[in-house]
Symmetry: C2
Subunit: 480 residues, 2 copies
């Protein structure tokens, strides 16, 4: 029933043959995620250059009943942007040719961009206009704005500036029927009906394809101050966070927690990294302040806050970065954790979040739950603590992992123990990485049925044929 | 077909007779808005005390096919919370008995409240815990959180802290079928499917009844600094805003613009008000900074910023508040505009927003558009300039208004001229007051058809019987 050659022919006529890829080597980069964990067949990769071309592609695929999968920088950690192993092979709509900065309005603090713009390019364009685009994450050199929006990307700037969702004012979306919705408003206030953009943000390509966005910019901080601290335990880190928030208010732009195991993995596996404090303690906190004005004033404020934290016994050791190079080195250490953990063994990464106040109790309870399955299994912790977002990572050495009889089952049991614990604290199994294909089972397990029903109702209303990223995000619709 | 006596009987059995009002004097406060502009018949007013009772009410009304209208503090400026003049008279669900502060978690910076809590009570509970709930507006002494959420209320804190939408983490909602959705999450990051809360925020009671919410709290600022400035024109105010944002960053918590006519109206009609600057100029700006730490440091920063603005010729005159009492007096002046304008004549208030950068050009163009209809008609302007939100108010004296032959038609023409102008600048006809019944026609006129179609699809998916606040927010559904 589905005539692939005819569809490919139509796509080639609409976009030009050079924009439709089908050869195995041409599509190799699109069929698999960057960690090599997910792969699946596809019908073709198309490279539209305009929103109108995206619309043509959607209309053609819809006519033929072929699924449509939008792909940005292909940096998903949840398998959300590569073809599924089963079902009709999708047409992958790769957005990289939509990469114009459409405009920048410094006096309105907004930038309007194509969805295929790389995050770092948007950050750079903002800086050139004397502004800050505050979303920042490890993959910023290759991830695209469209993917950031589709997954509501988080990262290290969330504490002060919010998630991607909080930095989007308007969207342009190609809807499942091919219609283009121009919602590119640059307004900070607009109470005229349902806020549709928030439905698309975080919808992981299941409701349409984001092709453009108006993003919020912020004043470019002219001063930074950073400290690397060692603390006794997460409870002390939580008290320290309270002090930092009370004394530094919105200047506090990062508050990251790392445990000793995470420090060791980076030191062992990533060349050139040094731990800022001389004697690596059990728990470490990276604190960043940023502000307009003068660096000296900001550093003085940081030092005053740290002095009172030292006095209160919350901090064991503290190193305040003495230069921009040292601040960069602190961040480089923090951003090395993915590489270190990949090289050092097999980490059963989780992306839990709990209320900030519950972080210490959650870490303790989740550790106990994991140890009830594998006694004494090391746990690696790297947390955006200011957001309550804990990457809680039960960690196997390669020999220990390879020695296991039932690896998949073990991974499932351990992850479930961690996510069950998060749920007990009112938490979530996916704070910032999204659901993709990895966590669809968790959606069925943890989300209240009434919430799934509402989501399915939205999905049916927007994409009645179910062609947009099928099998992702939502469990199968019982009423479909 | 609709048996009102039987419905009222069922409601009385479910809630107790004291919670069901039908007598004319008992329901008088619920049938009309506070300005006396809208009124309509109702079947009954119910006063549920729990979420479960709200659910019982919804189920009973749904069985009988009677419309359901949620009402909070009844402070809407758009007629959104009182019965329509036509159609089946609704059951008004008044939320004031749901007024518990359910809990406060200072270390998570959250407060969980019933929807019927008055905004000022929530602000007060936050202060008692050493925190700030930042939504602030003229009606805060009587408006309720549920209404704030249903209308995404704005106010004077938006520049720094965002709208109500930006301060809601979780919701509890009674859905149109009576099901209770417990979405009371207190998480700052949660990427697990469509963000349903954003659909309900700003939906003006058309998708269900909000019964509870988890709200974000912020560090309580310990220092404020304020200045009242006179400036040459809106363009100078815009340049001044840029300077304040660059030098004061997130400390800038208010930037309000008022024109000479607005100043005069307050001075003439509200006893006890004094203009802070000696010689009222054409345009005035109220600037507020707030911060943790020391007031002296903040004042020094404000004075430095104003000095450079004076030097650049942007500011004609400036008075920095010397005390808390003086700051309160500045705000009192600002909050007196509604009273002044009501007493001083007939203002055809608008609630436009445009990109911040377009505010000066918009004011000029809208003034010209109004003067093309009524030459030299005074215009009153009071704007949350930092948000691009301009209350642009063509203003008639009572004699001039009463002398008009076709008042309704004149009001329509003038408002349309203003809103058309806003639309030309990429603006909106309702920045913060919502649509209610007043602006349904504007929805049809200004919203792209594709956007209305998507909203109607959401409405049908959530409320297929169309019983929730019918005739509000959305124009009639062409497919229904």
């Amino acid at each position: 029933m589905i005539s692939m050659p005819q569809l490919i022919d139509e796509l080639s006529q609409a976009l030009g043959a050079g924009a439709v890829l089908t050869g195995p080597s041409d599509v190799a980069a699109y069929v698999e995620d960057w960690r090599g964990r997910y792969r699946g067949p596809l019908t073709a990769v198309v490279l539209p250059s305009t929103t109108e071309e995206v619309s043509l592609v959607v209309r053609a695929c819809t006519r033929h009943g072929v699924p449509i999968l939008a792909q940005g920088g292909n940096t998903s950690l949840s398998g959300g942007a590569v073809p599924a192993a089963d079902g009709v092979p999708p047409v992958v709509v790769a957005l990289q040719r939509l990469r114009r900065i459409r405009g920048i309005d410094p006096r309105n603090n907004t930038i309007t961009v194509d969805a295929g713009c790389v995050l770092a390019a948007v950050q750079q364009a903002a800086v050139e206009a004397g502004r800050l685009y505050p979303v920042s994450l490890g993959a910023e050199g290759s991830c695209q704005i469209g993917g950031n929006i589709a997954t509501n990307a988080g990262g290290t700037g969330v504490l002060r500036y919010g998630n991607t969702r909080d930095n989007v004012l308007g969207l342009e979306v190609v809807l499942p029927d091919g219609t283009i919705w121009d919602g590119l408003t640059a307004l900070r206030k607009n109470n005229t009906g349902y806020d549709l953009k928030h439905l698309f943000i975080g919808s992981e390509g299941t409701l349409g394809i984001v092709t453009g966005a108006v993003l919020k910019l912020h004043p470019l901080p002219t001063a930074q101050a950073m400290a690397w601290l060692s603390v006794r335990n997460p409870e002390a880190a939580l008290d320290l966070l309270g002090i930092m928030q009370a004394t530094c208010g919105p200047r506090l732009s990062a508050f990251e927690l790392l445990d000793e195991n995470q420090i060791r993995l980076v030191l062992e596996h990533v060349p050139g990294r040094r731990c800022p404090v001389a004697d690596p303690a059990a728990w470490h906190v990276l604190v960043e302040l940023s502000d307009s004005g003068d660096a000296a004033e900001l550093e003085a404020r940081l030092e005053a806050a740290l002095a009172s934290a030292l006095e209160a016994g919350l901090v064991i050791d503290a190193v305040v970065a003495a230069s921009g190079a040292q601040r960069a080195a602190f961040w480089e250490f923090r951003h090395s954790v993915s590489e270190a953990n990949k090289k050092g063994g097999v980490g059963l990464t989780s992306d839990t979040a709990v209320p900030v106040s519950a972080v210490p109790a959650f870490i303790e309870a989740a550790t106990a739950a994991v140890h009830a399955i594998v006694p004494d299994l090391p746990v690696v912790i790297v947390a955006h603590m200011g957001d309550g977002n804990v990457h809680f990572i039960p960690f196997f050495s390669f020999p220990a992992w390879n020695g296991l009889a039932e690896r998949d089952q073990m991974a499932r049991r351990i992850r479930q123990a961690v996510n069950d614990t998060a749920a007990r604290f009112g938490g979530t199994f996916s704070a910032e990485h999204g659901v993709g294909q990895t966590l669809v089972g968790e959606m069925a397990r943890y989300k209240p049925p009434v919430e799934l029903m509402l989501m399915q109702a939205v999905k049916r209303a927007f994409d009645p044929a179910g062609l947009f990223n099928p099998g992702r995000l939502l469990p199968p619709d019982p009423t479909a």
